[in-house]
């Protein structure tokens, strides 16, 4: 799968890379440090990703702002976007579902729990028929 990973924290990126490297299937992860970088990538000539993993708390452009731009776009609105966040704020959760998301994953404290969750997400999306841009 082609994955766009929008996350500003280095160690979070390391966590995802480490987790994905342990998976049997090969995945292509594109990293973006914030919403603006992610939009730049999406607007470039590169292939659109199959799924987007999105952090909410980021500098410059927050996850929700990015999500709103995404969902307002005629083409990009089809991209399944899964939120990956520490925010247990119910207001955030409701807002995200309102704008349109494919999942809302809370980052657990323990790394083992994190691996478990990410594995489940990847397995689920691998089992899915994707849009394939």
């Amino acid at each position: 799968m082609n994955i766009l990973f929008v996350e500003d924290d280095n160690i979070e990126t390391m966590k995802l890379q480490r987790t994905v490297s342990k998976l049997q299937t090969k995945h292509n992860i594109t990293e973006a440090k914030n919403g603006e970088e992610a939009l730049d990538f999406l607007k470039s000539d590169s292939d659109l990703p199959d799924i987007i993993l999105l952090d909410l708390n980021m500098p410059r452009m927050s996850g929700i702002e990015f999500l709103k731009i995404l969902k307002a776009d005629e083409v990009m609105k089809y991209l399944p976007t899964i939120i990956l966040t520490t925010s247990e704020n119910r207001a955030d959760l409701l807002e995200c579902y309102k704008v349109g998301i494919a999942g809302y994953i809370l980052k657990p404290l323990k790394y083992e729990d994190y691996e478990m969750k990410i594995r489940a997400v990847f397995e689920y999306w691998e089992a899915n028929e994707l849009v394939k841009a």
Partner: protein
């Protein structure tokens, strides 16, 4: 004389004879006619005389039988003639005594009577004279008199006649009604509510309060319609209600709306409108009572503003709490991941001690994460429902002793088995953790003791946390519960802890206080409502 002459003379004589006979006949006829006429005249005269007598006696009858008292007076108002009804009513009889009508007038009516008499002499007629008179038996009566002058053939006034009507009862009722009206008017005029009576929405009556409220005079109001005062934004709603009332669908309604005063300013008022229907069920009157609620309105608006402000600030605070907790949680996740990787990647080279330290690190990270979650939950307590469950306080103390740093020389002891209470576990945890952390770090004695105990009252659980630490000087006993008031000089003392404790205890309708002797120790007490 010749024959011819004789014949002519005879003929002339004959003619004369005939003419005399004719004249005599005419005279006879005429005198007969004359006789007839005089006879007729005599007859008519007799008839007329009869008629006159009859009429006079009839009039006498009317005079005597007239129901109302009737008097004829000379020009000094001495009664010359009175009917039985007058004798009856006045108690006087002009045939037995001198009765002067003017002397019967009550002193209060002298001036008015003088005026009236003058008018009678000027105009010849006096209508609807109303005054109080005093009868022979000293009883006071209200009378109405219609009077007129009587003239001789030279149009010279010679007498006055008057018909008296007893209006005492009527007048008393009138006075009673006037009194009642006056009383009612006093109530209406002095009502704190503006009161308006309308017919077909046209104002027919309004009280002084309403005049003051809207600034129009009573006479101005009498030409106005009640919907005149509605502001454009209320007009629709107001009109609809009036329409429903006109249609008989509504007997009463109340509406809070703006009234536009004469000077264009706005009056916030609450109106209660009632419909009054006649026996046929047709709408006859509407009574509107208008209460000035400007002050209440102002207060309400002020309250709304304050509430909105408070809500905004609460929201901001919650938002802030979420951001802070995110900012604290993210690095904890990183530390946890890094510790995990250290173990995963270097477990071959780590000795047992290293492994233990890494796992201790994980434990502390976990404890901190829980605390962050707890604080976040507390800070959103106003919006979140408090999750009350049965909480075993012994277990809470055990958990706390596991996560807080307890120096080796300090012993935490539960004096007797603590109760299971119905409360929010995170909050109970926070309260005890604060007291216990404070207790253990401020002990400089060689053997530190922290005793946790409780008592049960009818309404509350009372807990105590006693230490043999440095103690807290009296002047700080109140201050330490205020936010950011830290008296300790230990690093990491934020001054938030006890203020959070106080807030939680407030939530459970409890109290918190302490007893302390510097150098000997401190006992914190707090209560939680059962």
């Amino acid at each position: 004389m010749d024959n011819k002459e004789i014949v002519l003379l005879k003929k002339a004589l004959d003619r004369q004879k005939r003419a005399r006979a004719q004249a005599e006949r005419i005279l006879e006829e005429k005198s007969k006619e004359l006789y007839d006429v005089s006879y007729h005249l005599r007859e008519s005269n007799a008839r007329l005389e009869n008629l006159l007598t009859e009429t006079k006696s009839e009039l006498d009858g009317v005079f005597m039988n007239i129901v109302d008292p009737y008097v004829v007076m000379d020009l000094q108002f001495n009664i010359i003639k009175m009917n039985p009804s007058a004798k009856d009513f006045l108690g006087y009889d002009c045939e037995k005594e001198t009765v002067n009508l003017s002397t019967l007038v009550h002193p209060d009516y002298y001036a008015y009577t003088a005026e009236s008499i003058q008018s009678l002499f000027e105009v010849g007629v006096l209508k609807n004279y109303q005054a109080m008179i005093v009868l022979k038996d000293r009883v006071e009566k209200y009378v109405q008199i219609n009077s007129s002058l009587v003239y001789d053939k030279n149009r010279k006034p010679i007498a006055a006649q008057g018909i008296i009507r007893d209006i005492t009862h009527e007048t008393e009722i009138k006075h009673l009604l006037a009194d009642q009206k006056k009383e009612l008017d006093i109530i209406v005029e002095n009502s704190p509510l503006g009161i308006v009576l309308t017919v077909d929405n046209k104002i027919v009556k309004s009280n002084g309060t309403f005049v003051k409220l809207v600034g129009y005079s009573k006479s101005e109001l009498r030409t106005m319609y009640i919907d005149h005062f509605s502001s454009p934004e209320d007009a629709e709603k107001s009109k609809e209600l009036i329409k429903q009332m006109d249609a008989g669908e509504l007997d009463q309604y109340s509406i809070v709306k703006k009234y536009i005063r004469k000077d264009g300013s706005i009056l916030w008022a609450k109106s209660f409108v009632n419909a009054f229907k006649n026996v046929q069920g047709k709408l006859e009157y509407q009574v509107a009572m208008i209460e000035d609620i400007s002050n209440e309105r102002e207060l309400e608006l002020e309250k709304e503003d304050l509430l909105a402000e408070l809500e905004e600030s609460n929201k901001g605070l919650q938002e802030y709490a979420h951001i802070v907790s995110h900012d604290l949680k993210s690095p904890l996740r990183s530390i946890s991941a890094l510790a995990t990787w250290l173990y995963e990647d270097y477990k071959d080279v780590l000795d047992e001690n290293g492994v233990t330290q890494l796992s201790l690190m994980q434990e502390k990270v976990e404890a901190m994460d829980k605390l962050i979650v707890g604080i976040l939950k507390y800070s959103t307590v106003s919006s979140d429902a408090v999750e009350n469950t049965m909480v075993d306080v012994n277990m809470v103390i055990k958990e706390i002793t596991d996560i807080i740093y307890i120096p080796d020389h300090v012993e935490v002891k539960i004096v007797k088995q603590l109760p299971v209470i119905f409360a929010d576990k995170t909050k109970v945890h926070q309260v005890f953790q604060n007291f216990m952390s404070n207790a253990v770090v401020h002990i400089e004695n060689k053997v530190g003791l922290v005793h946790i105990d409780y008592e049960e009252t009818n309404t509350h659980w009372q807990f105590s946390i006693e230490d043999n630490g440095v103690g807290i000087p009296k002047e700080y006993h109140e201050k330490i519960f205020k936010i950011f008031q830290s008296i300790g000089n230990k690093a990491g003392s934020t001054g938030i802890g006890l203020s959070i404790v106080k807030k939680i205890i407030d939530l459970y309708e409890g109290e918190v206080w302490l007893e302390s002797t510097p150098g000997e120790g401190t006992t914190f007490y707090f209560t939680i409502k059962k």
